[in-house]
């Protein structure tokens, strides 16, 4: 019933999420932190595809990752880059 390889993939994706969240906290350069946050959002979109909700995955990939990263980069270009 439960496919073992799919479970392994899910666990790896979730592990990647946690690693990205810790990396965002540790990176001192704000632009790098924003890029790592974008990869966090894309992995989250894949997780939602794994949870069988493709609508949420598309909205997350377009709005939660694309537009949020765009606004963050715009704000960083108006302020300073180092933390």
């Amino acid at each position: 019933m439960v496919d073992v390889l799919t479970e392994v993939l899910n666990v790896l994706l979730l592990l990647f999420l946690v690693v990205c969240a810790i990396a965002v906290a540790q990176i001192r350069d704000m632009l790098s932190a924003v890029i790592v946050f974008a990869s966090f959002g894309l992995i989250m979109a894949i997780v939602w595809q794994q949870l069988s909700s493709p609508d949420v995955a598309m909205v997350e990939a377009a709005l939660g990752t694309g537009v949020t990263t765009l606004l963050l980069i715009a704000a960083i270009s108006k302020t300073r880059r180092a933390e």
Partner: protein, 147 residues
């Protein structure tokens, strides 16, 4: 930023992204997607051109006045589509009870009010993203030196 590769790539790719965005908006009742994701894709393509060239070229595609009119018009169209239900005698935002033709399930023109409201939402979200981006990246004065 004066990068030839980024400019040529974004100029080539932007129309395809816009067609994909319109596809996602109009197929919201048949496949994953809808007004929010399709509008975000469409708006992001407009911002992509503005980022790879400069803000003046981006503002030539959709001016600020047009964006604000489209944004208010999207919300207004949503409300008017809802008020059709009240005018007919059903509830606010009614679909089948308000007499919208549901069509044949699985066809392109089907699902009555859902199709109309999704199109209005897509227009609204796309112009919202463009307006938010320009307002954050522009300076205090409108002709600022922001790049």
């Amino acid at each position: 930023m004066e990068d030839q590769i980024v400019r040529i790539t974004s100029r080539l790719v932007a129309p395809f992204i816009q067609v994909y965005g319109i596809y996602v908006i109009l197929h919201g009742h048949l496949s994953p997607g809808g007004g929010f994701s399709g509008g975000a894709i469409f708006g992001a393509s407009l911002v992509l051109v503005a980022l790879s060239f400069n803000l003046e070229v981006g503002a030539k595609q959709i001016s600020h006045a047009t964006a604000s009119v489209l944004e208010s018009g999207g919300a207004l169209g949503f409300v008017i589509t809802g008020l059709v239900g009240v005018a007919v005698g059903a509830n606010f935002l009614a679909n089948r009870a308000a007499g919208f033709p549901l069509g044949e399930t699985g066809e392109f023109f089907s699902a009555g009010a859902i199709f109309i409201i999704t199109a209005f939402l897509g227009v609204k979200v796309a112009s919202t993203i463009v307006t938010l981006f320009y307002n954050i990246i522009e300076g205090e004065d409108k002709s600022g030196d922001a790049h």
